[in-house]
């Protein structure tokens, strides 16, 4: 899943988050916005967010109300960007979570519980610096509070 699918390049030149949200995943599924509810998770396969470095990709998902992304694996820039803007991302390896399943996410322990399938997936552990950044709600609030990186 590349970033051109998450938010096409022609919609990225705006500071209006709702404008970004209105085009999220539209090339993939034009009905995504109407079908999703705030607090839903996006569940994906391999290499989620490959391609461009546009931070607008996780921003558009977050602004649309997506609570987090669970994927088999992530492209590195997307993963960093998501943490930096405070969008939880969990890398759980190969999985068969079906669309519409009910999920419970435990960020503290890094677990994704598929309540529908009664199955728990353990997410890869993030570097501590990322955990700290996510805990503060993103890199901007983290740096505002700490003034500098703290390993």
């Amino acid at each position: 899943m590349d970033t051109d699918q998450i938010i096409p390049g022609q919609y990225t030149k705006t500071l209006d988050l709702q404008e970004l949200a209105s085009h999220v995943l539209e090339f993939l599924d034009p009905d995504f916005r109407t079908r999703m509810n705030s607090g839903d998770f996006v569940v994906a396969g391999e290499n989620f967010g490959c391609g461009s470095s546009r931070e607008q990709a996780p921003m558009a998902l977050k602004a649309a109300g997506v609570a987090g992304v669970v994927a088999s694996s992530f492209a590195r820039i997307f993963f960093r960007n998501a943490i930096n803007i405070g969008l939880p991302v969990l890398e759980i390896g190969p999985h068969d979570i079906g669309g519409g399943n009910e999920l419970e996410i435990d960020l503290e322990n890094g677990t994704v519980t598929d309540l529908t399938a009664d199955q728990t997936h353990q997410a890869a552990t993030m570097p501590r610096v990322m955990q700290e950044i996510l805990k503060e709600g993103g890199l901007s609030p983290y740096l505002k509070k700490h003034g500098d990186y703290n390993l």
Partner: protein, 421 residues
Amino acid sequence: MSQTLTEKIISRHVGQSVRPGDLVIVPVDAVMASDATAPYAIKAFQEMGATRLWRPEKVILVIDHAAPAPNQRVSNLHTMMRKFAQEMGCRLYDIGAGICHQVMVENQHARPGEIVIGADSHSCTYGAVAAFATGMGSTDVAALMHTGKTWIKIPSAIKVELSGRLPAGTATKDLILFLVGQLGINGANYQAIEYTGEAIEGLSLAGRMTLASMSVEMGAKSGIVDTSGLELPYEFEPLKADEDAHYEKIYQFDISGLSSQIGLPHSPDNVVPLEEVTGTPIDVAFIGTCTNGRLEDLQAAADVLQGQHIAPHVRMIIAPASREVFNQALQQGTVEILSRAGATFITPGCGPCVGTHLGIPGDEEVVISAANRNFKGRMGNPHSKIYLASPAAVAASALCGVISDPAEGLPSAKDGAQEQP
């Protein structure tokens, strides 16, 4: 302890010997953001409570993704960047200066042995001058503008050792397309690619930039070409990995037998020999981008199109990588050859590569492009198809109106006057 080139460069910056997997805070030498990413970086910079840049002379802003502004909203984002640059005292390259990555290398903002971070995924292009360079998002870059530092997990490395020489009619683009096809779109995820071997010694700076730029198409954090054979207009220290450095994987290719390659829709790793799709009708031919918008790329196209005219139904668009490239191509007569052949020149910059403006294809249209990505909708229309190829192959296809191999015999001006008055 023996080290990869990536480990060497980062070790020098942090003052200790680093190993893959180590997490370090590194000081960088320069940081870049474009009009696609700088507005959010400026916003994040302000949200961090920052009031001045870490070192204004090391922060570079470039207006290239939507330049000149296609609408009021983008124009206001450009104004925001200009105001910020003026207030903070940093360098801003305005419309027409060129693509950020070209501008960074041309103006020596990225040099051998340096660490350079850009808010654009193709920032790995600076690996062409043996810099450790990678793309990050707006907020990471805002933090760099503020502190001059970032955190990096030291990547393990993949060595790509190339021997032989590119056959006539093929270009570095064919080589990198071949490699992307071989390694796959996530074949180098989170890793550093190091290009080395006798074949790189003969590569021009432009060719090295083509190679390095598409490293991200394999998921790589960086793609670095060692300095063997590198020529720059200034003195620099030669940089190579240690002989016995440890690599996660080593690929060895003899490029002497390489044929023209093409990336099929809709993923850059969907690569086959070009001959498999020759004859496919095209509507648009595009030459430009950080991967293939340089002087030698324009010259390769001009060599194909000299004294001829593109097929009547084809639109050919050329965006030189920078004003410097455009000026040199003007001076050499390359622009005239291409313009007389029916090509349309647009502002140096990213052009239609990112789907913002200046040549969005129509529904069902087929594009052959010298760019680096062909994801669905990349050029602004999810109902079009993009094929990726070398500038010579793009020119040959524009000439014939169908996908054509520049390494095969093409109609030449001698065969009959194709040029239209």
